[in-house]
């Protein structure tokens, strides 16, 4: 780690450490019971207690998140391309998508489970449903935010529509899509957990629900910690991809 990176991360690390310390020390002094607010040590102990089959739960939830993320990404890009490519498609799709997006998707979750039963797939679909809309919008915007003059160049040189699309529109849209995928990464986590809350036989969301009914709060916190590890991993991966694939873009 270079000095610059050190200087950048030290303040947040110090804050994080201080908060952990306060969290560990203060609740016992206030006589707050562990089932209400377990300290960080208890949480870490629960998170590393492998009599709970963490790896199985982590696997299921990760699968749901990644599947939902991939579905949202692929579906969102496809819809965005359709909207940008054809005015008719845009007029047909946009009002419909706006309606779908304004639905509280969390409320649709029980229906998905009713139709598709328990399991990984319905939770993937809920994750995808929550995360796909920003991808559609950003793809369409990125594909159409092109200088008119650049399109004039295409016309002057007799370039067919697909060529302008491949050479100019698609690369222009890439940073927009990647920045939407960061939002989708977070939304997919929410979707997967919501699905597991409603009904599931495995997964970190189910662990939280079970721990809550048993008042085993340290385990609930531990599940939460594992969820945020997965979420951070996915978010970081998308951020790295954005830096690698669209280094010209200004988005952080």
């Amino acid at each position: 780690m270079t000095r610059g990176a050190l200087r950048r991360y030290v303040p947040s690390l110090v804050l994080f450490g201080a908060l952990l310390l306060i969290w560990q020390v203060v609740p016992p002094l206030l006589r707050i019971r562990e089932y209400l607010l377990p300290g960080p040590v208890a949480v870490v102990r629960a998170a590393l207690n492998f009599s709970i089959p963490w790896h199985a739960h982590i696997w299921v939830t990760t699968l749901e998140i990644l599947g939902g993320f991939a579905l949202a990404g692929a579906g969102g890009v496809a819809l965005g391309v359709a909207i940008a490519w054809s005015g008719t498609a845009a007029r047909a799709l946009v009002p419909f998508l706006v309606v779908v997006n304004t639905l509280p998707k969390v409320a649709v979750a029980p229906l998905f489970l009713l139709w598709l039963g328990y399991g990984v797939v319905p939770n993937m679909l809920i994750a995808a449903l929550i995360g796909f809309f920003p991808v559609v919008i950003n793809t369409a915007v990125g594909l159409t935010q092109i200088d008119e003059e650049l399109l004039d160049l295409g016309r002057v040189f007799g370039a067919p529509k697909w060529k302008v699309f491949v050479k100019i529109r698609l690369p222009n849209a890439l940073p927009y899509v990647l920045s939407a995928l960061k939002i989708t990464a977070t939304a997919a986590v929410v979707g997967a957990i919501v699905g597991e809350f409603v009904a599931s036989q495995a997964g970190l969301g189910m662990v939280i629900v079970n721990a809550q009914t048993n008042l085993n709060t340290p385990v609930a916190f531990a599940a939460l910690a594992w969820i945020s590890v997965i979420g951070l991993g996915l978010y970081g991966a998308v951020g790295l991809a954005a830096r690698a694939w669209a280094p010209w873009a200004d988005t952080p």
Binding site: L153, F157, K163, N172, W248
Partner: protein, 253 residues
Amino acid sequence: MIVLDGVGMTYRAASGPVEALRSISFRVDGGELVALVGPSGCGKSTLLRIIAGLRPATTGRVAVGGHAVTGPVPAVGMVFQAPILLKWRRIVENVLLPAELAGLDPGAFRGRALELLRLVGLGDFADRLPRELSGGMQQRAALCRALLLDPPLLLMDEPFGALDAMTRDELNLELLRVWGEGSRTRKTIVFVTHSIVEAVFLADRVVVLTPRPGRVAELVPVPLPRPRTVETRASPAFGALALQIHLLLARSA
């Protein structure tokens, strides 16, 4: 090379039809550099687009190279006010864009692209991204892009309007050099500007346009000797021409 005959252009705005151009007629000979000057909003950029075949005229006829213009004029070189380089492509790849758009093998033009970049002093910047270059350098690259396929006609829409005065003067000289002031094979250029000084310095003739609707107020020949140099701007003849155009614009305003 270019013949404009009674060209008019009316477009529909929210408040009703707006007449942008009215009965514009003039010719541009092959190898001539003609500047269009006029106040902003006089339709000079629109006129350039009509010549390029990117917008249809409402009335009148346009011919380029002996052919009536009915659609985009093939392979004309265009430079706009903004460089509009593709942010994700290196400079040389930006210069090669026209070849790719025209369905030609960009590899065959690479040597020429690098040569053009050297000619405008960007030889060392071929592999940089646009964001690493200053505005003036980006506009030089845009000029190279316009010249890549060696078009006989170059249409320039206030290409140096967004640059500072010093860079603009520098690029004016550069354009004349690249154009090949002395040579016989030089290109035809139509150059839109709102700078009288720039118009007189560059052009063989200046077309002075009136405010909306744009009409031709006067065609002013510029008999200043070529090659033009920094001293050209200081000559009395230069000052007299600039004053003449200034008065024409003031009278028509």
